[in-house]
């Protein structure tokens, strides 16, 4: 599925490494180094290098097709599902190279929760949805399951709304509730990193506000990487922001600085709405 391929590296642009200094948290959780990715013959990511700080919220922004989702999905190897995918470079989680041959993808994914663009609860009860990651690990003890489910639902600010109907189908929840359920499912296994791929794009403003509050609450406990189309959202929820354009990382730094005082011309054009 994933084959490492030696390809001549495209020349690095002048300011590519210059602006890549982010606000320091308690060390880096994910280190992405010279990461390239090809869908078949088409290259989607070019020499991305950035460190995602532990315990902070990092936003990936950029116009459609810039590769921000691809980069995010490379972090837990969700891209493995795609035929004809090639990567070069490295991504490491706490020093472990996730693209190494010896890495167990399943174990890796258990260390990273992921929330998708569209809420994707499973066709099961709310309870079963939340504890799905535990079920597949073979946890049977009812008391542990109940306790963990409650903790995760509280963590996802959904407990009060669903505590009386845990056995009802998750498909009966509203879109916002479904997305928070997916967040609960993502954090139930206590992962180190939470990956969010435009988690609010299918939600109304009120549900979006709730999810943003939730992201604030979760920051600190988890390292969060969030892809968003919405620059206000990135400004509101993240401490660090990376701006990508055409598969290249253009600028990466503290959110406030990136939005108020962008160094690269492309970044300033994008955040002022000149394109995108």
């Amino acid at each position: 599925m994933v084959a490492l391929r030696e390809v001549e590296a495209p020349p690095a642009t002048a300011h590519e490494t210059k602006y890549h200094v982010a606000k320091g948290g308690s060390g880096s959780a994910l280190d992405i180094a010279d990461f390239n990715l090809w869908y078949g013959p088409k290259q989607a990511l070019f020499d991305n290098t950035l460190s995602i700080e532990s315990g902070l919220v990092t936003a990936l922004i950029g116009p459609s097709g810039c590769g921000k989702s691809t980069l995010l999905r490379s972090l837990n190897r969700m891209n493995d599902l795609i035929d004809g995918l090639t990567v070069r470079g490295s991504v490491s989680l706490q020093g472990v190279d996730i693209y190494a041959r010896s890495t167990d993808v399943i174990a890796l994914r258990k260390r990273m929760g992921m929330v998708f663009q569209k809420p994707n609860p499973f066709p099961m009860s709310i309870f079963e949805n939340v504890i799905y990651p535990l079920r597949i690990d073979g946890v049977r003890a009812r008391s542990i399951l109940v306790e963990t489910a409650e903790r995760a639902l509280r963590g996802a600010a959904l407990w009060e709304e669903v505590k009386d109907r845990l056995d009802e189908s998750a498909l009966g929840l509203s879109g916002g509730q479904q997305q928070r359920l997916c967040i609960a499912r993502a954090i139930v296994g206590d992962p180190e990193v939470l990956l969010m791929d435009e988690p609010c794009s299918a939600l109304d403003p009120i549900a979006t506000a709730r999810i943003e509050e939730l992201i604030d609450e979760l920051a600190g406990s988890y390292t969060i990487v969030i892809v968003t189309h919405n620059m206000q959202q990135a400004a509101r929820v993240s401490q660090n922001t990376a701006f990508m354009y055409l598969g290249r990382l253009i600028e990466y730094g503290e959110t406030q600085r990136v939005f108020t005082d962008p160094v690269a011309e492309k970044t300033s054009d994008y955040i002022t709405g000149r394109f995108g």
């Binding site: 837990n76 969700m78 599902l81 035929d83 399943i106 174990a107 994914r109 258990k110 990273m112 929760g113 992921m114 998708f116 569209k118 809420p119 994707n120 609860p121 499973f122 066709p123 799905y132 990651p133 079920r135 597949i136 690990d137 189908s169 498909l171 009966g172 929840l173 509203s174 879109g175 479904q178 997916c182 499912r185 993502a186 296994g189």
Partner: protein
């Protein structure tokens, strides 16, 4: 509309010619085509409804007791029978020549047509025919006397005539006690059938078992070994006690038979010829012209009950079809049990695991093509491969003592089910593949992102979600399989098999037995029986039953599917 006037043409000189015509072309309007499409649909629906109506009308009315007409012909002859149907026909010149002028003139006025009625006269043992055409111009009088009765007998079909007497040991008894006498006689007859089939059958079975044990010992140890001698002696002892049981049972049957023969019913046909039969040979007897609506309903329901619960009689044209219902049901169920895992596993591999390339495409095309192979080809394959090769080997290894008579080495329920499973597996594969492909990618990704392996994702998320689609495939397979007849004729369906594949004799389920099938029963009754006119109503009733059986099985599968759908698919916000 598109014409450009000279004036305009001059004005537009040099400008590019207008490419699009103005106005709307007929081909852009949907309505005429809509009418065509709707018409085609309506035509299809009318055909299906018409088909169902004909089958159900004929099927539902078959068992309703009709009146018996007593027809006096101009020639003086008297005929009693149930009118079956009427039609217009053109009498031949020789027939016309025998008629008087007035009648001839009437026929001529109708362009040479006359009307005739088909009467079911019964009494095949006396007349040599069951049905008789009577032309209207032959009839001088029609009446429906109350004393005419219709008697359904175990042999020779129905008798139509008068009841003369009920006698016990040649002494006449009150005909008022007929009903009770008949009930007793029928119960006695059922008891005889019980003894002769089930109890003596069980004894015979155990005797056969003993013989096979001896044969087995001979094959295993040789005829001169001590083991053989021991088993032979044991079996001989058992056989002796079985012989006593057998004698007892057959004596009991003899006694009952003798007793049954004492009560006799004397009947007279309309011409006066008398016929005496044992009362126990009468299945049903009713005075056709003296029945009230409730009596008729009673006869109707009792006939239906007999049809659904009894075994066939009289070369399948009378009696019931219970063994055929059971056989059809058992075979279809077994087929689904076999085809479901095979089809689903194949589709899972093709869709989820196999590398999508040229090979998989070829496999997929071949599977689709298999669905179009004529079913009789599967029958020939089933006979050659399942029955002769597989079954023959099973006989060699597990039932050598029964050879040369085959156990699994001939057609049977198991081989029929497997053959039909093979026939329907493409349908299941195609449907399952589509159901799997329709599972949203987001579901799989959600599960994988939780750290589930591919197999866990398939088991926990993909399969439950695809289940309604898989069920649809199974329903289609079931409908096709239950209605299939041609291959079954080669691999296990027979004209008459009163022994059901499940009974009280160890090992209770006998998958090697041949069985009856409603589809084949229709063919057999309609086209292989002595009298097609007598078989025709049974064809309709059996067809109706087959349709009802398939509809019931499909309906239950659909109910299950919808339940699954509600559970696993739901509505996405």
């Amino acid at each position: 509309m598109t014409a450009i006037t000279a004036h305009e043409g001059k004005a537009m000189a040099g400008a590019p010619a207008r490419l699009r015509r103005q106005g709307v072309d007929i081909s852009a309007r949907g309505e005429p085509f809509l009418w065509g499409l709707g018409g085609a649909l309506a035509f299809g629906v009318v055909m299906i409804l018409g088909f169902l109506f004909i089958v159900f009308w004929n099927g539902a009315t078959t068992f309703w007791p009709g009146p018996i007409d007593l027809v006096t012909l101009t020639a003086g002859e008297r005929i009693a029978g149930e009118p079956t149907r009427s039609e217009d026909y053109r009498p031949t010149t020789s027939q016309l020549a025998e008629l008087d002028d007035a009648t001839r003139a009437r026929i001529a006025a109708r362009d040479g047509f006359a009307t005739r009625t088909l009467y079911r006269v019964g009494n095949f043992d006396i007349y040599g025919e069951d049905f008789r055409w009577v032309s209207d111009f032959q009839v001088s009088r029609r009446e429906q006397p109350a004393d005419l009765a219709l008697v359904e007998r175990l042999e020779w079909g129905v008798f139509i005539g008068q009841i003369k007497a009920v006698t016990v040991d040649d002494k006449a008894v009150e005909t008022a006690t007929f009903a009770t006498a008949h009930k007793v006689a029928r119960q006695r007859w059922l008891r005889i059938a019980d003894i002769e089939r089930d109890e003596i059958g069980a004894v015979n079975h155990r005797m056969e078992q003993g013989r096979l044990e001896v044969r087995r010992a001979e094959l295993d140890h040789g005829k001169s070994s001590p083991a053989y001698a021991r088993i032979a002696a044991e079996v001989a002892k058992r056989e002796q006690s079985l012989g006593i049981d057998y004698a007892k049972l057959s004596a009991e049957a003899q006694r009952l038979r003798a007793e049954a023969a004492r009560t006799r019913l004397t009947l007279a046909e309309i011409g006066g010829k008398e016929k005496t039969i044992p009362l126990s040979a009468v299945v049903r007897l009713y005075p056709a012209n003296a029945l009230g609506p409730m009596d008729k309903l009673g006869v109707y329901l009792s006939r239906w009950w007999e049809f659904l619960s009894d075994e066939p009689r009289e070369a399948n044209t009378e009696g019931g079809v219970w063994p055929a219902i059971f056989g059809t049901f058992a075979m279809t169920l077994l087929m689904v049990i076999v085809v479901a895992p095979f089809g689903v596993i194949t589709a899972l591999y093709l869709r989820e695991y196999a590398r999508q390339g040229r090979l998989v495409t070829i496999v997929r095309i071949s599977v689709n093509n298999l669905a179009g192979v004529p079913s009789i080809v599967y029958g020939a394959f089933g006979l050659g491969f399942f029955a002769y090769i597989l079954g023959g080997s099973i006989d060699q290894f597990f039932y050598p003592e029964r050879l040369p008579s085959p156990t699994f080495g001939t057609g049977g329920l198991l081989w029929s089910s497997l053959t039909l499973a093979l026939l329907t597996v493409p349908v299941v594969i195609v449907a399952t593949e589509e159901a799997l492909a329709a599972v949203p990618r987001s579901m799989r990704e959600g599960s994988l992102a939780c750290g589930a392996s591919k197999w866990q994702t398939i088991l926990n998320i993909v399969l439950p979600r695809a289940m309604p689609g898989i069920m649809t495939g199974l329903i289609l397979a079931m409908a096709r399989g239950a209605g299939e007849v041609a291959p079954l004729m080669l691999v296990g369906v027979v004209k008459l098999a009163p022994e059901l594949p499940i009974d009280g004799i160890f090992p209770y389920v006998h998958l090697e037995r041949s069985f009856m099938h409603l589809g084949f029963h229709i063919y057999d009754v309609g086209f292989q029986s002595r009298n097609s006119e007598a078989g025709k109503p049974m064809v309709f009733v059996t067809t109706m039953l087959l349709i009802a059986l398939i509809a019931t099985m499909n309906a239950s599968a659909i109910v299950i599917r919808n339940r699954l759908k509600r559970k696993f698919v739901g509505s996405q916000f």
